[in-house]
Amino acid sequence: MNIHAVKAIYKFEMLRAWKTLFQSLASPVISTALYFVVFGSAIGSRIENIEGVSYGLFIVPGLTMLSVLTQSVANASFGIFFPKFTGSIYEVLSAPISSFEILIGYVGAAATKSLLIGLIILLTASFFVDLRIAHPVWMIAFLVLTCLSFSLFGFIIGLWAGNFEKLQVIPLLVITPLVFLGGSFYSVSMLPPFWQTVTLFNPVLYLVSGFRWSFFEVSDVSVGISLTMIVVFLVTCLGIVSWMFRTGYRLKQ
């Protein structure tokens, strides 16, 4: 294992975020605050409690997931896309480093960044609502798994994307709708039966549901299923990435 190389990639990627630290932190904090003002206080005050949890509190896990998912995908996809775009990827390809090590470096850095953002959002939320976490260890576990699997997903998009448009189209057309329709801001049980069934095909539902359970012990689907689905998603992404590396997909001729 080329530890120095993994560290080099990881540090390099973290440094990139460090330079834009203000944007990296300000935007999730501000948008979370805005959501709280709009949904939590203004609209939320007119919505009755959901399964015994006040609406303002209920949306905290979903809100966190929204940012964590978008940030994971954005960070990881950009991290690998940009060197591909400038051509500086030649160096990574010619280094004595395995595909797996490349992956740990890039995905590890992206996941770390979104994990930090997730924690900062929770911290911000705690200023607006009386946040309680029933299962802190599970909360962190769900968060870490989500950061990892969606950073991996972002990495795939970064490898696949041939131009900037493609890089942005997936987060815009896929991630955002999935998050909004995945029960981030409501309980799935509030939907008509047909849409409830449709929602079951949305992987984000399982993330949000499991994550929410770790806070309030209420969930749309059972925790075991949530966990299984996240792991399935993670393994699928790993499979796709290893296929991409094996075939040199859009990296090597």
Partner: protein
């Protein structure tokens, strides 16, 4: 000398169907400077990219210091530094961060003193905190060299190092190459400029159309393929040559005072002695001066590539 890079039957066909390399065989000696000459699209970059692991070979094997570039890629790649043809650099990273990144990528622990000296040698030290996008083209090229040398490679590939580079940087670059060679680094460079190969290489390889036409010691090559010319100046101009000289390949200048005799250095005898004797014997000719010229690598190269085209 032992070979440090050994290429056997290497072929490459790109996905587009274009065959960029045709069964190339090449042994690169440890410690030498090898210049690969070839026109645009000859396959120079493809060859280098395969050795460095950026492009996958279609057929054949490459060993670097005995390590196969595919099954033993970690060991082979550790030894290699590459300066690519294009200015492929990030934009927002600083010079210092980018060379530290490179060193780490190649598995080397931090070494502040070495990298500081490297940047100083390349006149980049005062730019160490600059973002890459703020550097001029020449400076970017220096950064690429610094990145390639950051992990102290034993083999250095320079893919057209002097394209778009001013005289000063070119001089600096050759000074660095010389210093590296003295420390035992093997250097392979590609170029379109024959003078460059002539100036610094020990051996010259000529690639055209994906085929390695030859690899020769530079001096042997010029001797073998070079043509020499003997220019004979006459005291009095003549309008035509006497019968006795008809058997020689001679050309008379318009003014009638210069005779040019072309001969192959390959041949056994040059025929110069006999020619001079014949001139001496001819009553109408009187010798004033003699001069020889030798064809440059450039002419050799053009001849080679064109004779290949004719086949």
């Amino acid at each position: 000398m032992q070979s440090i890079v050994s290429i056997k039957n290497l072929s490459k066909t790109y996905e587009s169907g274009h065959q960029a390399l045709h069964s190339v065989n090449l042994d690169i000696q440890s410690g030498e400077i090898l210049a690969l000459l070839g026109p645009n699209g000859a396959g120079k970059t493809t060859l280098i990219s395969i050795i460095c692991g950026i492009v996958s070979p279609t057929n054949g094997t490459v060993k670097v210091d005995g390590f196969d570039i595919i099954s033993d890629y970690r060991k082979s790649r550790e030894l290699i530094g590459l300066v690519p043809q294009e200015l492929t650099l990030g934009a927002f990273d600083t010079v210092w961060n980018t060379i530290n990144f490179s060193r780490g990528l190649f598995g080397k622990p931090k070494d502040h003193a070495y990298l500081e000296q490297l940047l100083k040698d390349l006149s980049l030290w005062d730019k160490k905190s600059n973002e890459l996008r703020t550097l001029s083209g020449g400076m970017k090229r220096r950064v690429l060299i610094a990145k390639a040398l950051s992990h102290e490679p034993r083999i250095l590939f320079l893919d057209e190092p002097t394209a778009g580079v001013d005289v000063e940087l070119r001089k600096d670059m050759w000074a660095i190459v010389e210093k590296l060679r003295q420390s035992g680094v093997t250097i392979i460079l590609t170029t379109h400029y024959i003078e460059e190969a002539e100036e610094i290489a020990d051996r010259v390889g000529v690639i055209s159309d994906g085929k390695l036409l030859l690899v020769e010691d530079k001096h042997d090559l010029m001797q073998k393929l070079g043509k020499k010319q003997l220019i004979i100046e006459l005291k009095e101009p003549v309008s035509e040559l006497p019968e006795s000289l008809a058997s020689y390949d001679l050309e008379l200048s318009k003014e009638g005072n210069l005779l040019t005799y072309t001969y192959d250095t390959k041949g056994e005898g040059t025929g110069i002695t006999a020619l001079l004797q014949a001139i001496n014997d001819a009553d109408s000719l009187a010798l004033k001066d003699l001069q020889t010229t030798q064809s440059s690598l450039e002419e050799i190269f053009v001849n080679l590539v064109h004779s290949e085209d004719d086949v």
